[in-house]
Symmetry: C2
DNA sequence: TTGCGATGTTGCGCATGTCAACATGGTTGA
DNA sequence: TCAACCATGTTGACATGCGCAACATCGCAA
């Protein structure tokens, strides 16, 4: 049995990250505060500095975690569908759904200018997410379900589309009042814009 | 001749707004500070409170001004082109160009959740911008250059597209290193996704 | 002319990010 | 075995920001 609080925490980095993610979900990136994270993790206001260079560094870690989860969400959304074009569309909807479910986290992931130099972990996680989308696109082309051509370019097209929808929906700019409506619109956009073969 | 500084400024609101826009262009919305704006306008750190409820209120005014300029930018981009579809495409490229030229301002306009209640001026300016785009879409449909259908839906499609491109480009997520490349990509996307008639 | 309301100013309390100095205790090498 | 070391936490301080309250100034209206 542990006597009250041990001086050394043992797993602080993880807990700080989780606390940060929860805090951001509650108050958003602007009101997000390093000191509040420390409070929630039950440590002093300076403890986080042993694990993160500064506020932005912690936010970058939060973003990285977000990108990993986004990747998972897209894969999970495509799961169970066998037609490659269907899988691509589902992945796109998964992207939007993720953004709608975790708007603040999504905001942290995309609002700060990404600097590969400073935050390599976050950058790599982001690239992995894009790579996943690229994979879906390439599969479609291989299967002849999408017009052939530069898959990278095509994946960028798909990405900017779902991203635009997600961002505008999150910030309340679209005239929709439920996730359902947004997703219906997203389906319309995807169907309209993907250069399906045949 | 005016002896040193008069106690009452005379046109402070305007100057604060301009100073704020310049400051944001330099340091971005995060580092933007009410006090620095006051400093630049040459007034005390509390003077702005006579003209803006708080920091967010000033930012909302900045956003409103941005939406007005964005509207102008789209109109100007379409000017001189007679074919309606051409005009629509140019307006879209104008949207992206505006974002690339004034990334920080664009960010202020779109990153904060929009509350119609709290910031009616900014909301209306934003709606006017969208209305402008809607007008271009409707013209295309009237001229039979775009498939008929719900123009509102179609305008939303166009908007989310250019917005996605703009946002990702601004935050350095697209693999392009010049505005020219981004615009070329934007042309590709627009050409690919607009459901042109014929 | 006077006094009132709009506009600026000074000064404050409180919160935050971050630096510096110090405390603690698990691990390690002699 | 045990002492020194280093990673990890803590305390305290400082500069800066936001926004409130009280006060100052001045144009305008009665």
């Amino acid at each position: 049995m542990r006597r009250s609080k041990p001086y050394h925490h043992g797993n602080l980095r993880e807990e700080l990250l989780e606390a940060a993610i929860r805090l951001i979900a509650e108050v958003g990136p602007t009101a997000f505060t390093l000191r509040e994270v420390a409070r929630r993790a039950g440590v002093s206001h300076n403890a986080p500095y042993r694990h993160f260079r500064d506020r932005d560094d912690l936010l970058a870690a939060v973003a990285a975690q977000g990108f990993r989860e986004l990747t998972e969400a897209m894969i999970a959304a495509a799961e169970g569908h066998s037609d490659s074009l269907d899988r691509l569309k589902r992945a796109g909807l998964g992207y939007v759904t993720f953004a709608l479910r975790r708007p603040q986290h999504f905001t942290v992931m995309f609002d700060a200018p990404m600097s590969r130099r400073k935050y390599p972990e976050s950058s790599e996680a982001a690239e992995r997410a894009f790579g996943t989308l690229l994979g879906f696109v390439a599969s479609c082309q291989d299967a002849g379900r999408l017009l052939p051509g530069d898959s990278r370019q095509m994946a960028l097209l798909a990405w900017t589309m779902v991203h635009g929808i997600a961002k505008l929906a999150i910030t309340g700019r679209l005239p929709f009042h439920s996730a359902k409506e947004v997703l219906k619109f997203a389906e319309f956009v995807i169907g309209q814009s993907l250069p399906a073969a045949e």
